[in-house]
């Protein structure tokens, strides 16, 4: 912007300078020419008036000539004195304004220039001279056309030229002056310069004018008589060879230029100031909000999420500030949400911890009860009692052991589910056999309690994990039977859309609305019901809940306290398949597959070795038992067969653990022998470790039925049912 102003200003000044100079040049030249014209006319006028006096016939009397001279003086005020000289150079007449006239004076002028010059050249312009010290005069002499006409000599007062010159106005301090052919000042507004007979022949413009005449530049910058720098122009006055100079002081000539320069400078300055102000304002407008943004962002970055940036500029910066504020608000919000979530989670964890404690307390209580009973029964057995009493006590012991076994199984299930190692194995199967087993399982118990159990048959097929679904239904029906004292239990199913809705009804105590969530927690039992009386552990619904979630089967509950409850599980419905494949059951009765199988059992507990070994031998297996892989191998040397199955305790007293022992044996036989682990350690970590190694893990105590089920899976010729823990052991069979 400044540059534009500057360039504009400079162009303006340049054009102004050129225009000004050209205009001044024109004016001065015109004035010089006009003055030269006037002076020329003045001189010519005088010449012509004097010329008349030379026209008088040679016979004219001196009286006539005197009269003519008086006429000349009257008509030409500039002529102060007139003289007529005859052809011989004798002055015959002298007429003056201020002194007495002389007639026939006879003064001899024949040798003087004022006579010889006009005789030779018709006209003579004498040098400037001064009368009474101060009056500029010039002798102007004319010769007549005829030789005998004589010469007319006039003394011309040149102050009249000063009139002409002083009338020329050039600007304020400009002036015009006249210089004669020899470079002497003839007329100048400051008459004193003329009266002092000033010689200006050395002024550069006079030198140039005298030397070059028309060819020289008409205007130039020079110094004038007073030493000022001036813009000068001249015009020649041709007849006398004089020159008129018109001069204007540079200072004045260029005053408009300077004014323009000053104006341009001021405009420039103003422009500059404005530009600076504008940029300052802009910077202020920009920088201040940017600083606010910067500090605000820094504050927010430091974690002061409640900081808000305040910018009121109404432009993009304000929008940016608002965006920052929104961002901060969102951050704050999500931070708060996060905190809330953390709090919630912490609370949940606390609750879970509480539940765990409650669980442990309940579990230990539930375990202590049968253990306590067992202690009592064992004490009774030590006493010598009669066989009837002994049988009764043994039955009681059986019952207590069964209860403990159930409890451990349930805990194991929960543990497995919580560890996430239970992977559903969905299959399409008919629901009918499953329902039938429900009926056969609970018919006896129901009958004992005087309840009516009715299971409606269904021809529907579903997609689910048959084992886990059966466990869900077992728990539900078991619960229904347990909590119902009068009436009955009804199990039925019907299709609803893509689902088969399996419902378990009872006419039991019902569940109050406010307890519906709790009943799915561990060890929860409805108030007023003692564990012993109900005979349950309170883990059933917890298992159901976990399994349903695992399988993705929604479970619904409807209940009226005192009237009964209805649990419903929704299972994906499938079209019936032509060949009905009976789903495998843990209770499948298969004996033959175990016969003559070689099973290696590794456990550092001799009692366990003996117990399991005896059980397996009872089922027809050949058993090699050892407290370590090496011990087992040592015994296997005697045999040429490769073991069909390895069962190892997870924790061994030797340097190897169960997994390493299994690997040891597999390396020895260079084949992936099927194997699974047993462990007294119920920690979920064990399960995960086992799963990571691709091994199934059974927890001690292992009920014979479970052991048998595992053997069935691992030793069956055709392993249709995949193992719960994955294909590793199955592959091992190959």
């Amino acid at each position: 912007m400044c540059l534009v102003l500057l360039v504009n200003g400079l162009f303006g000044i340049w054009f102004s300078y050129r225009e000004q100079k050209a205009s001044l040049t024109r004016i001065q030249r015109e004035q010089a020419e006009s003055a030269a014209g006037k002076i020329g006319e003045f001189i010519k006028g005088i010449e012509s008036e004097i010329g008349w006096t030379t026209q008088l016939p040679s016979t004219a009397s001196l009286r006539e000539r005197h009269f003519d001279a008086l006429r000349l003086l009257r008509q030409v005020p500039a002529v102060a004195e007139f003289a007529w000289v005859d052809a011989a150079g004798r002055e015959q007449l002298r007429v003056s304004r201020v002194s007495t006239d002389t007639v026939a004076g006879g003064t001899d002028l024949s040798q003087e220039p004022r006579f010889t010059e006009p005789v030779a050249h018709k006209i003579y312009y004498g040098p400037i001279y001064f009368r009474r010290e101060s009056e500029p005069y010039m002798t102007l002499a004319l010769a007549g056309a005829r030789r005998d006409a004589g010469v007319s000599i006039a003394e011309v007062n040149l102050k009249f030229i000063w009139d002409v010159v002083s009338q020329i106005k050039v600007g304020k301090d400009g002036l015009a002056y006249v210089v004669d052919a020899r470079g002497r000042l003839i007329a100048h507004p400051d008459i004193s310069l003329v009266l002092r007979n000033t010689d200006v022949s050395q002024l550069s413009q006079v030198l140039a004018a005298r030397a070059g005449g028309q060819g020289m530049p008409r205007v130039e910058v020079a110094q004038d008589v007073q030493g000022r720098r001036v813009l000068t122009a001249f015009a020649p006055i041709v007849p006398p060879g004089w020159m008129v100079f018109v001069e204007l002081p540079i200072a004045e000539a260029y005053a408009p230029l300077y004014a323009s320069l000053v104006a341009t400078g001021l405009v420039l300055l103003a422009g500059l100031v404005l530009t600076i102000l504008a940029s300052l304002m802009l910077a202020r407008k920009m920088v201040t909000p940017i600083r606010v943004l910067q500090t605000g962002a820094a504050q927010i970055g430091k974690g002061a999420l409640d900081h808000r940036i305040e910018i009121v500029t109404g432009d993009e910066l304000e929008a940016l500030g608002n965006q920052f504020n929104e961002m901060a608000a969102r951050l704050q919000e999500s931070y708060a949400t996060l905190e809330r979530k953390v709090e919630e989670r912490t609370h949940q964890l606390e609750l879970a911890n509480l539940a765990k404690s409650r669980f442990l307390a309940a579990a230990s209580h539930d375990l202590r009860q049968p253990l306590h009973a067992l202690g009592l029964f064992v004490a009774q057995l030590r006493a010598d009692i009669d066989p009837v009493e002994r049988r009764r006590i043994v039955a009681r012991i059986d019952s207590a052991v069964a209860a403990m076994n159930d409890l451990f199984n349930a805990l194991l299930d929960i543990s497995k589910l919580d560890a996430g190692v239970l992977i559903p194995d969905p299959a399409v199967f008919a629901i009918r056999p499953l329902l039938r087993r429900m009926e056969t399982t609970f018919a006896g118990v129901a009958h004992e309690k005087g309840l009516k159990l009715r299971v409606m048959a269904s021809s529907a097929w579903v997609r689910s994990d048959p084992v886990l679904l059966e466990r869900i239904l077992l728990n539900l029906v078991s619960n229904a039977v347990r909590y119902t004292d009068r009436g009955g239990v009804f199990v039925g199913c019907h299709r609803r859309g893509d689902s088969l809705r399996i419902e378990v009804w009872d006419s039991g105590i019902g569940i109050p609305d406010d307890q519906r969530r709790n009943i799915f927690g561990e060890f929860y039992q409805l108030a007023g019901n003692e564990a012993g009386r109900r005979g349950g552990l309170g883990l059933g619904l917890a298992i159901v809940d976990r399994l349903c979630r695992l399988l993705g089967h929604p479970i619904e509950l409807a209940s009226i306290p005192g009237r009964g409850s209805r649990f419903a599980v929704l299972v994906p419905w499938e079209a019936a398949r032509p060949e009905a494949t009976e789903p495998p059951s843990p209770l499948q009765e298969i004996v033959d597959p175990f016969r003559n199988k070689l099973v290696v059992v590794i456990d550092d507990d001799a009692l366990v070795l003996e117990g399991i070994g005896g059980l397996l031998r009872g089922w027809g297996c050949h058993v090699v038992a050892g407290e370590s892989a090496d011990a087992a191998l040592a015994r296997l040397r005697d045999r040429t067969r490769c073991p069909d199955l390895i069962i190892s305790d997870f924790r061994l007293s030797g340097r190897e653990n169960g997994i390493e022992a299994i690997e040891h044996l597999r390396r020895a036989f260079r084949i992936r022998i099927p194997a699974f682990l047993i462990s007294g350690d119920t920690a979920p970590e064990r399960l995960r470790e086992a799963a990571a190694g691709g091994y199934h893990l059974l927890h001690k105590p292992v009920p014979p039925i479970t052991l048998r089920a595992m053997l069935t899976r691992f030793l069956k010729d055709n392993p249709v049912v995949e193992d719960l823990v994955g294909p590793a052991s199955v592959d091992g069979r190959l």
Binding site: P77, S96, V98, T100, R131, R132, I191, R196
Partner: protein, 268 residues
């Protein structure tokens, strides 16, 4: 503008030398930037009062001879101005008188004897007198009575004529002079036009108004800083010839055509 740009104080002594002297003191006491003075006696009185206040004179004759300036080209001091007549005018006036009244053989020159310039005029006239065959009589006057007396005495003899020199005294008592000339039938030549207009026979001299105009330019230049000592004394250049034909007729004078032809203004 008077009172704003410049202030003008003026005193008119009307030919009273005493008054003139007092006024000169008053004006010098005002310490003006420039004093404009008319006539030789006034100039002399002002010069007595001050040698430093810039002074411009008008209608002063022979300033060098009178001691007002050192030279005409470079006056040098605090004084400059416009002269009216060269001393040669004494002869010229005689020539003019002789031309309009050729019968005049005796000429009385009315002058102020204490004015030096008048002696110069007198000298020039006396030098020219033989060529015009006239006899000159000097009449020094200071007031109307002396004028009256001089005229009466001079007119006792015939063929008389009169030259009136420029001076405050002749200026102030011009009507006395003109009336005396008429009464004693004396053809007279005067230095300024207003004498002819007011009844004088003939006037030949410079245009005073022109001289004042020139003086004004000098005052202007002095006010603008010019030094009076560097401004040359200028001469009045515009000469006028006026003839009062009524007076001529009254005197029984037939103005020759050669003179009428040169006349700038004829008063009928």
């Amino acid at each position: 503008m008077d009172g704003r740009d410049i202030r003008i104080d003026f005193r008119w002594a009307a030919g009273d030398i005493g008054l003139m002297k007092a006024y000169a003191g008053e004006l010098a006491g005002l310490k003006p930037d420039v004093i404009l003075v008319m006539s030789n006696p006034a100039m002399a009185l002002v010069q007595q009062q001050t040698r430093s206040l810039p002074t411009v004179f008008v209608a002063v004759a022979d300033p060098v001879g009178s001691g007002f300036v050192q030279s005409l080209a470079r006056p040098g001091g605090n004084v400059t101005g416009f002269t009216n007549f060269e001393s040669s005018m004494g002869g010229k006036w005689l020539e003019v008188l002789k031309e309009i009244a050729p019968r005049v053989a005796r000429v009385m020159v009315l002058l102020h004897p204490e004015t030096r310039a008048h002696m110069s005029f007198w000298g020039a006239a006396e030098a020219a007198a033989p060529s015009f065959s006239v006899k000159l009589t000097m009449a020094g006057v200071h007031d109307a009575a002396e004028i009256e007396r001089a005229a009466a005495a001079f007119a006792r003899e015939p063929n008389g004529g009169m030259i009136v020199l420029p001076h405050t005294v002749t200026e102030v008592h011009r009507m006395t002079i003109i009336e005396s000339a008429a009464r004693y039938r004396l053809p007279a030549v005067y230095p300024f036009r207003h004498f002819a207009i007011e009844g004088g026979l003939i006037s030949y001299g410079v245009d005073l108004i022109d001289a004042f105009r020139g003086a004004a330019t000098y005052v202007d230049r002095i006010l603008r800083g010019a030094k009076p000592g560097e401004l040359p004394v200028q001469a009045a250049n515009k000469f006028e010839l006026l003839i009062n034909l009524k007076t001529a007729r009254a005197l029984g004078i037939a103005v020759p055509p050669s003179l009428l032809a040169r006349t700038d203004e004829v008063i009928e």
